[in-house]
Amino acid sequence: MQSGMVVRLVALVGFLLPAIAMAAQPITTFRLGNGMEVVVIEDHRAPVVTHMVWYRTGAADEPWGHSGIAHFFEHLMFKGTDDIPEGAFSKIVAENGGQDNAFTSWDYTGYFQRIAADRLDLVMKMEADRMRDLVLNERVVATERDVILEERNSRTDNDPGALFQEQMRAALYMNHPYGVPIIGWRHEIEALGLPEALAFYRRFYAPDNAILVVAGDVAPDEVRRLAEIHYGPLEPSGNPADARPQEPPQLAARRIEMRDARVRQPYVMRHYLAPAYDPADPGTAAALTVLAKVLGQGITSRFAQQIEIADRVAVSTGAFYSDTARDAVPFTVFGVPAPGRTLAEVEAALDAEIARIIAEGPTAEELERIRRKTRTDLIHARDDVGGLARVYGAALAVGLSTEDVDRWPDVVDAVTAEDVRAAAERWLVPARSVTGYLMGAEGEAG
């Protein structure tokens, strides 16, 4: 995920959130009087806790022309408050044997600490403090802007593949802010300053726009008691985000070609615009999830079997769909040509498999394999309570409920072969797509 979630949580594109969710670990949910939602996930194997606060605000909620302010602001949250000296936040966490970090996506911004369970009170107090009482000045903003420009260099400008991903999304979204990179366009980052940061903060950082997730060696009653002490008194802002601009009907297949002298391994990628998980119609997201797995995940997938193994047109292929979002998301396919093969040949091979699944749908065996894997993935997920915290946090942050997460295996179980076929026919439509070729300075023309 190029500058997807800007941090350590990074998975590759299309890591499917609900598919790894659901634990036998006890999960408790409640809501504070000021509107803050709380999720507690118990895991008593180690005396450790993960404490996270998620804001339902991300890069897609930025004022137009101020791209990058959500992520920029995430950095500034570590600067200091009326109670915590400038630069001391992470230091206090570290001196208590904890680790902390944060991440920004299009739909949300999250802050977390991993620490001994008996320090929960401390990190909660500090996190609550900076929700409303951050103190900023021009100097820290200016230095941090330099840091973020270097971050953009590291993540994006030094990597032609990342630049290509940025161009692909910008071409896919004609109107929706998901087409703007999370880290921001360089010229707009350069123009961000203290006024933009403070406006963003006052508007979005409030308990009624936040979700608390606590996972680990904790008791729900104790979490509630501490949350009421630290987060309970915070004033809600009553100031939800504006409705985002939505996509108009997409009527024209778009194609982009990018050449960069640094590219040594060309590839072709296509995004289709597809719906995100909708609680009123979870079956569509489930069918698209199954479709991505049948087409392009693992050696048993159709792309691998036909394009890599049988025809040897590509050395690598894939299909991804990540449904945990507020608005329409990319359904992505890609292929890396084998030596002597062209991007056009790979594209044609991908198209042939897409046409085949639209015609025939998946087999019963494919469907059963994926259903089974969806269930067993949940057992594996239980070994990573921090991962579970991220799954539930992300789901709630985009407007879903813990029940939406928990019922996922049942929703997948209910998907029929015809559902998958129909989803392919309905959503893998050229007019709603952008196809990109990433190429070196010379060589194959598109």
Binding site: R45, A94, L122, N153, G298, T300, D383
Partner: protein, 438 residues
């Protein structure tokens, strides 16, 4: 590296927020078990979830690659799950998914590593499948060519990835003439030339019971775990632990530049370190934490990022290979300002070499290191990886219990002694990009 961070002097207000009590030690019971077949391994029984994690490291790895076949161990490891026994690659994947098992295979300079996560339901069948992959990989022509194509594709992309170029250059320069000079992934020439016979030979040479270090964590008792380990390793020859050829001790001082047309230069810096079994290793570890190992609390982060905005990330770490011990670090800064970053890093290196580390910095480092130790043990998979590392380094069964005491015992005098190791002028530095002023 995370998104933001800090570290400034602590004011009086926050002293009250810091507990001074020692952190709880990790509450983990490690058993040393000898399997019926004679393999000694470490076990942590954890019945809370119906999973078993098995971690295996086979000593040797890429350093045993023939000089003209760099990448052989890596390619062999990548092919272990691409067909074994009477299953081709696809049938193997289906069998693995049917059991809901997860296997990972890799190779580094010193080892071939195997990580397995298996459900207790069907555990014997999962173990048998893994055993087949380890003992009877097929190296089918289709799989060999497919995996070769994937590796070559990655190697091609690495040619213009400044991080990959910098890493290769650093090791090539530091270990000229030694196997460590080569990247474990190999080269386009080497990987292109690998034959099936060479893969078969590498498999026979690299995977053996004597070379294996094993850990098991999960819902199995000692008897069951012993049988499990024998089932997984049973098909392998007894073999022997490979010899280690000592590498050149001191990387060459000075800066080597490789031009690459990118806006931001990537620098890797390093110097000689201390062996893991050296009596001053723990003080050196604590010292490095203060310099560049402590993330947002490190001096490098403070000076390079927080004060000057020169980089998103900067860090250093102790790197211990079987035949070489290093302190390594990296920073990425725009071409116009990379010289400044390197000067700041050298200055911090020199400051610790000359002044050591004051008591309050040492205490803060200890509080973090002792408190955060427990964070390494919150999943079966993480515990299994730790147990393999602890065995490979001969740390002893009780290390997990005494480790925090070892950290607590470090004094400013200890740090002053090990700080003489730091050699700011001797730093071996590579820079990839279009750096100005170097």
């Amino acid at each position: 590296m995370g998104a933001m961070r800090i570290l400034v002097r602590a004011g009086g207000a926050l002293a009250a927020m810091v507990w001074l009590a020692a952190m709880p030690a990790a509450a983990i019971e490690i058993e040393e078990v000898t399997s019926p077949g004679g393999t000694v391994f470490w076990l942590v029984e954890e019945q809370a979830i119906p999973l078993v994690a098995v971690e295996i490291s086979f000593a040797g790895g890429a350093r045993l690659d023939p000089a003209d076949r760099p990448g052989l161990a890596n390619m062999m490891a990548a092919l272990l799950e691409e067909g074994a026994g009477d299953l081709d690659a696809t049938a193997f994947a289906k069998a693995r998914d049917e059991l809901a098992a997860r296997f990972g295979f890799g190779a580094g300079r010193d080892s071939v590593t195997v990580g397995a996560r298996m459900l207790t339901e069907g555990l014997d069948r999962s173990a048998a499948l893994l055993a087949t992959a380890l003992a009877s990989p097929r190296f089918d022509a289709e799989a060999v060519e497919r995996v070769r194509g994937q590796i070559l594709s990655g190697l091609a992309a690495d040619q213009t990835d400044p991080n990959a170029v910098a890493s290769r250059l650093w090791f090539a320069r530091a270990f000229e003439g030694h196997a460590y000079a080569r990247d474990a992934d190999g080269t386009i020439e080497g990987v292109s030339a690998i034959t099936r016979d060479e893969l078969v030979a590498a498999h026979g040479r690299l995977l053996s019971r004597k070379a294996a270090t094993v850990a098991v964590v999960g819902a199995v008792d000692a008897a069951r775990a012993g049988a499990l380990v024998d089932a997984i390793l049973g098909g392998l020859p007894e073999g022997a632990r490979p010899e280690v050829a000592p590498a050149p001790e001191t990387p060459p001082a000075g800066i080597a530049i490789e031009e690459l047309d990118v806006p931001q230069s990537v620098a890797i810096f390093g110097q000689k370190g201390l062996p893991r079994d050296h009596p001053d290793y723990i003080p050196a570890y604590v010292m490095n934490h203060v310099i560049g190992g402590g993330g947002f609390s490190s001096r490098l982060m403070e000076e390079v990022r927080e004060k000057r905005g020169l980089a998103y990330g900067v860090y250093s770490y102790l790197a211990n290979y079987d035949g070489a011990d290093l302190i390594l670090g990296s920073v990425q800064t725009a071409n116009e300002r990379i010289a400044e970053s390197l000067e700041v890093i050298r200055t911090e290196w020199r400051r610790v070499a000359e002044e050591g580390i004051p008591e309050d910095d040492l205490e803060r480092a200890k509080r973090y290191l002792t408190g955060a130790f427990a964070l390494r043990f919150d999943s079966n998979a993480k515990i299994a990886r730790f147990l393999v590392g602890a065995q490979e380094e001969n740390l002893g069964l009780d290390y997990i219990n005494i480790r925090n005491d070892l950290i607590e015992a470090v004094t400013v005098e200890d740090i002053r002694r090990v700080s003489k190791l730091l050699d700011p002028q001797g730093l071996s530095i590579v820079v990839v990009g279009k750096p100005a002023g170097l």
